[in-house]
Symmetry: C2
Subunit: 1005 residues, 2 copies
């Protein structure tokens, strides 16, 4: 049997080959070590040399354009003649045409077989490689290839016509949309006119290549084009089996100039590369896999560069070898190859791989990403905004200089629908806050400052701050400590017969003066001692207070509208509440005049509760103290609004509806929830407590005006003595303002226009003067609302290549949203008729949402959750990889203790020294230096956000490993002691790996 | 410079090598083609031959035991002497010791570098391979290895002592638990006594190997042991760098007998394999990677077999080559190697790979998994239960024969806590259902059949059925169509002066007779015409009815307890409701006797509503028609119960708490929700409508007894005429019963004890006779409750190897839960004092939950959701890969139309022919054969559950591809025409791939 014989002879050959190569490590030579890592040899392979040469040269030339790769296979469709049918495409990830579904698969990571890669390597070794071919049409290209093959003896000349004919067959492309699109898609785009005739079997573009060199109508109409950059080029991979060939026909072509080759490509981009593989019948599957392999290589950033710069066949082979060297291998028993792997959230930059070859750059790279953990300072300590200038007002001047160039863009950057959503959301939060604090303040100061003052103050202070401050994303508001202070101050004034408002004016002036001194002396640089520990402690505490307050208000509401739990339907006749005159004697007196008595009696029963009490009546009956429905309805609204906001916010990640619709719903989640539950409230019609906005513009108390005269009310020494409480107020203001500023300016928010700690404080001081003179409350930055403001303004990239994750780009930094919010707050006085439809429980629900949402992504909360998780279910946090769990728990425990103490403090009269206690947090953190190693602290207490650090670590790992695949046996164990000196070290030093052994790399040789 | 020189010479060598091998495809030879797939050569490689030989021989020997692989590395700990420290371990997936975290990572897929695999290959080529070594202690093993190395000249004899010393250093193992365990862990297990001294740095077991050969205390205490089977063996991988070696010291040892080598291994399992790699300083990273590579190989099922059976070095190398050939490759630019890949949900079976070598078996394998799609029959058509015997009662006898052997196990299989949860849940659902239907039935039949009859009937029929029926998982209940029929029948009887109960008795007898005929003639085989289309249509409809009814009842409740939406707190004095005498004249009459009049007046106002109406009074006042709080509270309870059930059910997949606790919570989700919301209801104290169970045991109507006399009430001809309505009832019963039975017996439930369609129907008929005589309602299988029953009894494997997914094992098939549920239902009459605390809205919430939960996983619902999803977000359903989207949508649309028609039908009086219309569904499905291709239908309308099919397809693919990696360019395009004849085909035929080309594989050569 011929087959048997063939096998036998090949076996001999193989054995012979094995004999010859036995001495030498065959395999380790075949996979060329791009950078040597072999444990048996210690030299750099020629492939690595080659790649270093290819990639290293002329770095000033423009980067090669993005490639679109299309895999076409030769198929007989409907029993017709053979045609080239598109079966897969690549920009970065693979998308394949589903077999029967006539649809594109989701983009996925192209899993290859090692085998197909090696076969591809052989193809490149054996086939025609024609670099920089000068041709302008497909027939021309095909002719040149065929001629070349005949010349080199790879093709018999009698097959020329057949090959040419095959290669010039029609190309059918997979159109993006199926004819019957999902309802969701129809909602998304205006249906493009697709006539049924043309869309026969959903395959279009059935033109012959040789007919036109211009892009086809279908090509131009293809929406996929928008995923590609303007200068993109195409690489076409054509594979297929034919019956006339006996050995494979292989060609790799790079054109001198990218040329539009008619309808060869799905999208109208010019073709630069062509890979052709025709082979004998029976191995279509292998050809397909080889086609996928070359296509995957072409979409690999490094090979892509090599393909553009390659000078000869060996360069391409070196590129394949480099690719093989970097490849990640999954064991067959642990992974099912049929699983389509979703593109990962983040990808390692290909720069690392490229830099490995292009010279010393990688060492510089090594130097510029030190882990900036370690003591205190963390992420923001070293930022330019907080450096101490040492000059008078140096920081303030720098802040102004830094922010001034952005002033114009602070306005036009707001032109986005997102801003509208943010305005509505923050407006409602601010108004609710103003009302709540106004009410409380009115209580505390016997209406010397009330709701209207709160509105006016919020509007004036907020608008001015957002217009001129260093960080206009910060939202000013009254805060808890300020409220406590006002209450104490008022009581003190009353007990000592001081004029409260005048006393307060002087305290405000002194505080403002002290704040201005802090500004002038750049005292804000102290902020850098606020580490993650302090920050998260503070913001968690504020969030807890928000959540606690929301529930407290609901419980208060329930107390105010008690439910009659004794009520039985059957006993309805027994429940009543009537107004009766208080004094029975009065009734008797009235009884004397008969008709009057009758009238009066009627009057009593028709009186409302308020009237009854006003006229001195009393409410008699077992139903008077109960209010039906309102409490329960309020709870429904409260939890409903919260749940609905949460659900709508998460809707962004659902599968339903087009991305834009989902984004819109998510952006407007809170507003939608408020509207929905206002609707439900209106529908049910229960008289729930509504938002009440003052409708007249005059001071709450008739005893005061809009200007507080600075003299006359108190003895002269009070003006000086006011400096003492002012000191406390100053600390309070400074801490409250700056911690929130630090949180707002966190690096993870990726703010581009810089912070302005000094400028912020300057304006807070100025506003304090204004507010003091007008008798309005004082304002500082409000943590939770500011975070909500930022969250509602976050930007993400629109995905470019299919499968790539959208990236968080930053926050829409502008002054418009803030300014409009506060202007709206000001004019809310005139919007009372609309606002009165909003039930308070809905707004409490929003408060609850804000409190919970601002706890999201706080590392402290993550660590708290760890306590409830069994070890094996704990998420893969970077600090868990590096810090023993008991240290993590100890850290969490200490933080919890601190917060518990602060909470207790806050609940007592000592609340006034609350801000001072925040300073104590800094001290506690400092004391932790003795309890925890710097290594542990650098992971647990650090302002660098989670993902950034993980990425950095991976990068570092990558560099260390010099590209070797690892399952993260990471050696970056001591991140804080790792400032690599940026001396240029020759490549061969890199071979020594400072892994686990304690041996350090020599700096030179 | 020496390095330069070295490199230069090596380059020359390389080039020389390249020259020699140029002619031949070097790479494609190196990677040996296990089964030839190369496009250039066409022979089977020697490696494949070898593996076929290794794996093919003596298949009767017991399968090699499971391996536990441990990677130990040589490290200096705390600046002390070197020690071997465990850094990773494998059962199936890799778990590594986190660098600083002193913890095990999560199990993950071991991503390797190609490079390390090739280096490992070289290691095996160059190192000492000692198979079947006879040794019983580690020093002995080490000595033999070292001697061997010196003998073969690989090691200088003067290094013997140093190497021996190094290899016998202490071994430190990573204990599983951190000292400070999470709260969740503490809750899970009783803390094992770990003294602080011993747990120094959390590393224990610091013994010297040479001291003891017995397992250490720590080893024995290790909880990890329970993850391993009893006969597991260990393979130890030791890698490390030392300063005294100049070339690597490599050894691969297989012991003749697995031996406990002291504290070498973390767990007390005997060691079978040892891989040792010591090398010169500076390459620890590479050694680590090679160690990981061999460990991964050892945990690979195929290599594991080869390692056990290998005769020499070449066998091992062939094993590595086979592994390399099967490996899955991820392109470096599309994947971040630092990402730990979670173990996949399902893994391809290694049998495919093994069978590829061990002869013709694979073709049999090919034959036994045909895609059983195509026309009608689907998944259950071909099952043994539904085959027509053709004999009298043949099916029934077979059913009894099939079920009898399981009768005993049907009782002891229920011994599980899960059964308790199922009993409570189903009991409450059944009681609620009995009450609802009882109430409706009482309405419809003027209490001839009422709640008590419903209770009694449910208890008797259910208990008997569960005790004796073919499928005891089915829960009997009254169903909608039966209710409609009873109503019509009662009205007809009343209008024609028939004795309703006697007439009904005769209809029941006739129906039972007809059913018994159906049983005797094996008519249940017709069930196989119920395809997924019919089944899902029916069950979706029933689920919709459940959901609709839950809401309808809530709205009815709201109507019954109207909210006073005009209520204003201030006007509370204006609301009243008083009882007044209806007739003012009466009052006047009473006024004559003075004292009596006064008494009477007082009486009127103290009367309750019921009393008032009884004594002929009237309710006067604007508050009489309103009921406060109850409606709102009911809605809170309703939605609360539903949401809570859903959330708790999902809790199983959360990260918190140990698995057992989560499973318990999830199993008891509904009971917990009911208890929670009963508690909330009791706390608020609002008088919500409660579950009312009859407390006396007597017929609801005094006009009837517990036995219906068959004669005397109606003229004689009525007894015969009853056969006509009986025909309708028979269809109704048959359809209702059998469709539910089909759904219960679905293959995806993996029932092991078989179905019993005939036996089920037999008992339904018998029960019908009993119920008819006792005047109780008729009972058939209830879809939704039966599904809930099955869901609450599902079993999953406890995970064995870390990282492996728990598998769905089947359902706890037993009779106990059902029987107890119905006994409880029966004695509920005496549990009224407890049950009366359960508010009805809570039970309606449970109904809503059941309705929604039973829609889960129904393909029809998935397809409905597709309508709302843009193409690119659609999940990767198997049918979407194969059927064009517009066909899928058309199919969904037709189904929706059918259901809409059925719904309309159901809502009218025509509801009585509802079951007949279900038959129409079968006809519609039949008609679809003309609209859809068999190919499309085989994917859309098939009883094989989703995941099974995908797996099968993958398997098939796998076989087709002969192990090549693919990204599912699946060629199983025509699943229904793919019955491969099971002729033994020689291996070389397998080379021909029937992919896309239309060429079919030759059957023989």
């Amino acid at each position: 049997r011929s087959k048997e014989g063939e096998r036998g002879s090949l076996e001999k050959q193989l054995n012979g080959f094995g004999e010859k190569g036995k001495e030498r490590s065959r395999t380790s030579l075949v996979i060329s070590q791009a950078v040597n890592r072999s444990i048996f040899t210690s030299a750099v392979s020629p492939a690595a040399e080659r790649i270093r040469f290819i990639l290293g040269e002329e770095d000033d030339s423009p980067a090669p354009p993005q490639l679109f790769t299309e895999l076409d296979e030769l198929l007989a469709i409907d029993g017709q003649e053979m045609e080239w049918k598109e079966t897969a495409r690549w920009i970065k990830f693979e998308e394949k045409v589903e077999q029967g579904g006539e649809r594109w698969s989701k983009p996925h990571v192209a899993t290859l077989s090692l085998h197909s890669l090696f076969e591809l390597r052989t193809c490149i070794e054996k086939g025609s490689i024609m670099l920089d071919m000068e041709a302008s049409s497909l027939p021309q290209v095909v002719e040149m290839i065929v001629d070349n093959q005949i010349e080199t003896g790879l093709l018999k000349s009698e097959l020329k016509d057949k090959v040419t004919y095959t290669l010039l067959r029609k190309h059918r492309h997979q159109t993006k949309k199926s004819n019957l699109r999902s309802l969701a898609d129809i909602g998304k785009t205006v249906s493009s006119a697709s006539s049924p005739a043309m869309a026969h079997r959903n395959l279009t573009s059935t033109s012959l290549n040789d007919i036109s060199d211009k892009p086809e109508k279908d090509q131009l109409k293809n929406k996929f084009m928008k995923k590609l950059p303007r200068d993109a080029e195409a690489s076409n991979v054509l594979v297929g089996e034919v019956d006339f060939l006996e050995s494979p026909f292989i060609a790799f072509v790079r054109l001198q100039q990218a040329v539009m080759l008619g309808a060869l490509t799905e999208v109208p981009v010019p073709t630069r590369f062509l890979f052709i593989l025709l082979g004998p019948k029976g191995k279509a599957k292998s050809y397909h896999e080889i086609g996928r392999a070359i296509a995957t290589l072409m979409s690999d950033e490094v090979f892509h560069d090599i393909a553009y710069k390659a000078k000869d066949r060996q360069d391409l082979i070196a590129g394949i070898d480099e690719f093989l060297d970097e490849v990640i291998v999954l064991p067959p028993g642990e992974w099912d190859p049929a699983i389509r792997i979703e593109p990962p959230k983040s990808l390692p930059s290909s720069d690392k791989r490229k830099n490995m070859y292009s010279g010393g750059e990688n060492l510089q790279m090594n130097g510029d990403t030190p882990h900036d953990g370690g003591h205190g300072g963390g992420g923001h300590g070293d930022c330019e905004e907080l450096q101490r200038t040492g000059r008078f007002c140096g920081g303030l001047i720098k802040d102004i200089k830094r922010k001034a160039p952005f002033f114009a863009s602070d306005f036009y950057d707001a032109l986005n629908i997102q801003a509208l959503s943010a305005i509505l959301f923050i407006y409602l939060a601010t108004v609710t806050n103003a009302i709540t604090f106004g009410g409380l303040l009115g209580d505390a100061t016997e209406n010397m400052q009330g709701v209207l003052e709160s509105f006016l103050g919020t509007a004036v202070a907020g608008a001015i701050f957002c217009l001129f401050a260093g960080q206009p994303l910060t939202i000013l508001s009254s805060t808890g400590p300020v409220l406590v202070f006002e209450r104490l101050l008022f009581n003190f004034s009353r007990d000592n017969d001081f004029d409260y408002l005048e006393f307060r004016l002087w305290i405000g002036l002194w505080s403002a003066f002290l704040c201005l001194i802090l500004v002038a002396t750049d005292a804000s640089f102290l902020v850098k001692y606020f580490t993650r520990f302090t920050e998260e402690g503070f913001s968690s505490l504020i969030s807890f207070i928000f959540i606690y307050d929301a529930f407290k208000k609901m419980i208060k509401l329930a107390d105010h509208y008690p439910i009659n739990s004794e009520f039985k339907v059957d006993y309805i006749t027994h429940y009543s509440c009537a107004c009766e005159p208080l004094d029975p004697g009065k009734t008797i007196f009235m009884e004397t005049s008969f008709s009057l008595q009758y009238n009066t009696t009627i009057d009593w029963s028709s009186l409302t509760v308020k009237e009854c009490l006003k006229y001195g009546g009393q409410l008699v009956g077992n139903n008077c103290e109960y209010v039906p429905d309102i409490t329960l309805m309020s709870f429904i609204l409260f939890f409903g609004t919260y749940t609905c906001s949460m659900a709508l916010k998460k809707f962004k990640t659902s599968r339903y509806f087009p991305t834009t619709a989902r984004k819109l719903i998510s952006d407007f989640a809170i507003i939608l929830s408020i509207l929905i539950f206002c609707g439900i409230d209106a529908l049910v019609g229960v008289d729930t407590p509504k938002l009440i906005v003052p409708s007249e513009f005059k001071p709450t108390s008739p005893e005061r005006g809009w200007f507080i005269p600075p003299f006359g009310g108190n003895p002269w020494w009070v003006y000086l003595a006011a400096a003492i409480p002012a000191l406390l107020v100053t600390i309070l203001i400074f801490m409250d303002q700056q911690i929130t500023a630090v949180i707002v300016n966190r690096k993870e928010h990726k703010l581009k226009k810089g912070a302005g700690y000094h400028l912020d404080l300057f304006w807070v001081a100025i506003l304090m003067i204004i507010c003091s003179f007008m008798g309005l409350p004082w304002y500082v930055a409000a943590t939770v609302i500011s975070i909500a403001h930022i969250d509602s303004l976050k930007m993400e990239t629109e995905t470019s290549a299919p499968g790539e994750q959208p990236k968080f780009l930053g926050v829409r930094e502008q002054r418009v949203t803030g300014v409009i919010v506060f202007i709206l707050t000001g004019v809310s006085v005139f919007m009372a008729p609309i606002l009165k439809f909003i039930p308070m429980p809905v707004l409490y629900g929003v408060f609850l949402y804000m409190g919970v949402a601002s706890l999201n992504g706080v590392q402290f909360m993550d660590r708290l959750k760890l306590l409830l998780m069994p070890l094996k279910h704990q998420p893969d946090f970077i600090y868990l990889r590096h810090v023993p769990l008991r240290r993590v728990h100890l850290f969490t425990f200490l933080q919890v203790v601190c917060l518990a103490l602060l909470w207790i403090l806050k609940s007592t009269v000592a609340a006034i020294i609350f801000p001072v206690m925040i300073l104590a947090l800094v001290a506690v953190r400092k004391a932790m230096d003795y309890l925890f190693s710097q290594h542990d602290l650098s992971f647990l207490d650090d302002v660098i956000p989670e993902k950034d650090k993980k990425k950095k670590e991976d990068e570092k790992k990558k560099k260390k490993k010099k590209g070797s695949v690892d399952s993260d046996n990471d050696d970056s164990d001591c991140p804080y002691s790792e400032k690599v000196p940026s001396i240029k070290i020759p490549m061969d030093i890199m071979e020594q790996e400072p892994f686990l052994s304690g041996s350090k790399p020599a700096d030179s040789e």
